[in-house]
Amino acid sequence: MPRPPAIECADLTKRFGGFTAVDHVSFTIAQGSIFGFLGPNGSGKSTVIRMLCGILEPTEGRARIAGLDVAEDTDALKGTIGYMSQKFSLYDELTVSENLKFYGRLYGLRRTALARRRDELIALARLEPYLDRRASLLSGGWRQRLAMACALMHQPTVLFLDEPTAGIDPVARRELWDLLFEFAGRGMTLFVTTHYMDEAERCSHVGYIYMSKLIVCGVPDDLKQRPEVNPPGTRRLDVTCDHVTVGLQSVRQLTGVLSATVFGQSMHLLVEAGLEESALRDRLTAVGIHQADIRPIAPSLEDVFVTLTGRHTNGGQV
């Protein structure tokens, strides 16, 4: 018998009064995936997570976690899922060790089972040096590691993380992702919301929610191949040059250039396929950009989201 998908939802909808926070969202996530859930603030990310965790009742639609209905099988659901909310979800007055003990007890772990599981997670999240430190005195990265360890005390098979890396430093961010990969490797399904494109690129699956609607969902590489992202007769170029921000406006006006966006020290251009590199170079020189380094590139996830968001806003069909 095939295993049920880790998460599947169909037409999941949440309305608060006249406001639709989540509008007919449907997707399926296989077990063991790392699902990156992106979207601007207020687009409905947290609302989806709360419905999937069974703490917010959907107005319409259904969702199942490992085969369990989120609205009906709430009790069984609770042992299956772990949730790390957007707000810092630990008790400041408790030490690292006490927080772990509290969350373990909350899920019914006792004595030896509790101690064993706590030791496992302490080792996994490398929390040993901080065991007796109050949670309020931990830095952002360590707080998140502790929060994650707490959410894992009862060995959930699906873990929801609502912006786990918001506001923590790059090193801590990378370490946290290393941990996430480790969990995914053990068969756990991870549902992560984020604003960082580099994090999205690391996910096995991504979804992008915009104005309450899921406008794109799939494997990153597949999404980058979609025709909307690569309109026929166009190609994408990376132009590395000096003063990228200064030249951006004039580059956008050039004949043959369909769009231009700054990426660090370079510009990403979407140009007509017929535009020769030498012709582009001449036009760049004409607007004062000399010695540009031009090379073709594949679209990034950001390109995917920007393109599809634009089509969505313009009323186009995805």
């Binding site: 709360r50 965790c53 069974g54 703490i55 917010l56 009742e57 709430t74 009790d75 609770k78 042992g79 899922i81 949730y83 909310s85 957007q86 707000k87 810092f88 979800s89 630990l90 008790y91 007055e93 408790l94 006490e98 003990k101 509290f102 969350y103 007890r105 909350l106 899920y107 019914g108 707490c150 959410a151």
Partner: protein, 373 residues
């Protein structure tokens, strides 16, 4: 505990640590009640003694000086000065230099000797009614006693036709602290406990930790009981300290059994803490919890019989007072502490507190939504 109270031990464990580590909360739980009992115990003293009195003696005789002495000897008045006119007397009272003015007219001793009615004028500042009432009663008492003595002499009798022999039970010295302090205990316990639980869930909502509890298998009953028990323990410690102050600072003799006091206090605290939890369930944040708790607590300051006797209240306030846990607790306290009543004597009051507590606690568990809205 499994089943109904699932997660109780986890919450109990966490809540005890949080309460004991949060020194500020602990301080604000203990400090106000202690301050209240000390302040109210000393300040709420209805026994008016040695109130300031100015005298306008226009008679200047042995009799008039004897009369002034009679006033002073009651210990109710003390002479703070002599004035030259009625106007000056009125000014002294208006400026709060005196509460009472005694005017003895020039013909006082003459009329008294001649068998006519000798008149005395007593001006009393009615702006503080308790003091005015006592001044008035004492002044009238002096008049009657003097008159009776004169009449007895005239009639050749040496005994009064009627003599009242009052015997004041339970608080023979009629000391105010004996009446007030048990009431203060009721009010003081209430403020500390209701606020503490009212804040505790509101804080989880504000910090977002509530979501973490909601996704767990914790039961509503387990959460409520786990939140309540640590404060019940702290509340009992507080109650015992207040009884100690009652006994050793205000020297109120506790006639009844201490066990009875503790049983009554336990029921009362359970009711109050449930009330606080109920507030916490409805409030979204600290500020709302604080304001709602104030609204809940206000009536009991006025209507619980803490200061004003319930018997003299208009029916609407009396009706309100029957809904307040403090009403029953304060009556219980006075009964046990001053009159040595047993729990059996006041089974009704205990029953009411127990029912209130259970109803409020059940409401907490039933109204608490395991989902966010």
């Amino acid at each position: 505990m499994n089943g109904l109270f699932r997660g109780f031990y986890a919450i109990l464990y966490k809540e005890f640590i949080v309460v004991l580590r949060d020194r500020a909360t602990l301080f604000f739980m203990f400090f106000p009640p202690l301050l209240q009992i000390i302040a109210f115990g000393f300040a709420l003293d209805n026994d008016v003694k040695h109130m300031a009195m100015v005298v306008l003696d226009e008679d200047h005789t042995v009799e008039s000086r004897q009369l002034i002495d009679d006033f002073v000897n009651t210990q109710t008045f003390r002479v703070v000065g002599e004035v030259g006119s009625v106007q000056e007397m009125a000014v002294a009272i208006r400026r709060r230099q005196a509460y009472v003015g005694l005017q003895i007219p020039p013909d006082f001793s003459r009329r008294r000797r001649d068998g006519q009615t000798a008149r005395l004028q007593v001006l009393v500042d009615g702006s503080s009614s308790t003091i005015a009432l006592q001044a008035l009663n004492t002044a009238l008492g002096i008049g009657f006693r003097e008159s009776a003595t004169l009449l007895l002499t005239e009639a050749g009798r040496d005994n009064l036709p009627i003599e009242v022999r009052p015997q004041v039970l339970y608080n023979p010295a009629m000391l105010s602290p004996n009446f007030f302090v048990p009431g203060v205990i009721g009010v003081a316990l209430q403020i500390a406990t209701v606020f503490s639980t009212a804040m505790s869930l509101a804080r989880e909502k504000e910090r977002g930790t509530i979501e973490q509890l909601l996704v767990s298998p914790l039961s509503r009953w387990g959460l409520m009981l786990g939140k309540l028990v640590p404060y019940l323990v702290i509340g009992m410690i507080m109650a015992m300290s207040l009884f100690a102050i009652l006994r050793w600072v205000f020297f109120v003799h506790i006639v009844g059994s201490v066990a009875a006091l503790l049983v009554a206090s336990l029921l009362y605290l359970f009711t109050l803490l449930s009330l606080g939890l109920l507030v916490s369930i409805k409030a979204e944040n600290h500020m709302q919890a604080f304001q709602m708790a104030m609204v809940v607590l206000m009536p009991s300051i006025f209507f619980s019989g803490f200061i004003f006797p319930r018997e003299t209240m208009p029916w609407i306030f009396y009706a309100i007072s029957t809904l307040l846990p403090a009403t029953y607790y304060i009556e219980l306290m006075r009964a046990i502490i001053l009159r040595g009543a047993s729990l059996h004597d006041f089974a009704f009051h205990l029953g009411v507190l127990a029912v209130m507590g259970l109803v409020l606690f059940s409401l907490c568990a039933l109204l608490f939504r395991k989902r966010i809205t």
